[in-house]
Symmetry: C2
Subunit: 239 residues, 2 copies
């Protein structure tokens, strides 16, 4: 079974939702047969790379919140994160473009380090005093290396804005096609969707339901095939 998770590094509920999903997954009896794939989703796709703001400034300007509302929202997120055992800085974080991070996550996917890199990006952004925006490429290279990637590979990708750009855009088009207009967005076997950082019990229910509904296979072609099996490699008369 495969679970695809659309998320953004700038999305606090994605950080919290990942922990809630993983809590459900770790107790799921068939967890060894569940593959998790992370997909790109930018909450702020039009933001320029050098347009970096404090989160509170972004919340008041972009979403028209009062400063009190913005602070209350951050405090609530901090409490929700703490309930999942996650550190969360409610003040002092930056906001900016996450496009380069999504490109790096596609590099990481090719090296089997995607989950590690996403978790490290979340931690740096939400829990640690390490801006994923302000230090530019060297901070991202540093985090990529922590995730087990090669520094030169990461630098090469960051230096070429086209690298994995199509992969990021393809993920985002796919999210739109699947009806996701926010993140985190979880898709199980392309059949069931879960929107938002739901409680772990909801993910348990979704995993159980999707597991039970795995489709029976329809054989498109079987007879007369060229195949090898327990009785050897069939050598039928040639077509």
């Amino acid at each position: 079974m495969r679970v695809e998770i659309w998320s953004d590094i700038a999305c606090p509920w994605c950080y919290v939702g990942k922990a809630r999903f993983e809590k459900a997954l770790s107790a799921f009896p068939h967890r060894d047969q569940v593959e998790v794939v992370h997909r790109s989703f930018e909450l702020d796709p039009h933001r320029a790379k050098d347009d970096i703001q404090p989160v509170l400034t972004m919340l008041t300007r972009k979403y028209g919140m009062s400063e009190a509302q913005a602070r209350a929202g951050e405090d609530n997120l901090g409490q929700q994160a703490a309930a999942e055992g996650l550190d969360y800085r409610t003040t002092g974080r930056d906001h900016g473009s996450t496009f380069d991070m999504h490109r790096l996550l596609h590099l990481a996917k090719e090296h089997g380090r995607q989950d590690e890199l996403l978790q490290i990006l979340y931690r740096a952004n939400f829990a640690e005093e390490r801006s994923v925006y302000a230090e530019g490429e060297e901070r991202l290279v540093e985090l990529a290396v922590e995730a087990g990637l090669d520094a030169e590979d990461a630098r090469r990708v960051l230096a070429d804005p086209a690298a994995y750009a199509d992969a990021v855009r393809a993920d985002e088009r796919e999210a739109a096609a699947l009806g996701a207009n926010g993140v985190p967005f979880f898709v199980l076997d392309r059949t069931y969707g879960v929107s938002g950082a739901q409680p772990a019990e909801v993910f348990t229910q979704a995993l159980t339901q999707a597991w039970g509904a795995r489709p029976a296979l329809e054989l498109i072609e079987d007879g007369g095939a060229d195949a090898c099996g327990p009785d050897g490699c069939a050598v039928p008369p040639r077509r």
Copy 2:
């Protein structure tokens, strides 16, 4: 869309079938959205690691063929391979356990090099004078390095018989659960199956059919979710 291919390095029809499938895939309009995953299947799972035989000896002893039948089968396979532009040695190949190679393919999957390694193993086994059995671990390390893996990683996996052993067995259990009793076996989105090295047109039909049948998503949970979207991160009243 995802295509899983169960195959064995010792399976000539898997070598031919991979080329036929790739011919169909390369012409498929949505090929950029098709992910290919290789799964393990041993045709000869009980063979000891040091039990290496010439292929013709194996065919006559294991499958009870006459030598003339075995040679005719190999000649036919050579013709089928040539028709796909593949080199195929009809004589002089070895047969043995492929378990270690499947373990290496799981390592390669983690590094995004699975398809490369499988193709290199096929070429060494079927086309080149490089036995994948007789030279033991150093030959497999050499081939792993050609696929872009780290030599030390490959040696570490080969030295530890438990490394990825469960992953190989899990693939094989899954093949049985899906009804595969021979390889190659192709599964599209866990919904459609194609058994055997079918002509490229059959794979084209399967890809087209599976693409058209991609399921609509059923939302298990949506309302009241903690999510971030174009209008910011919702902060609903806490449960």
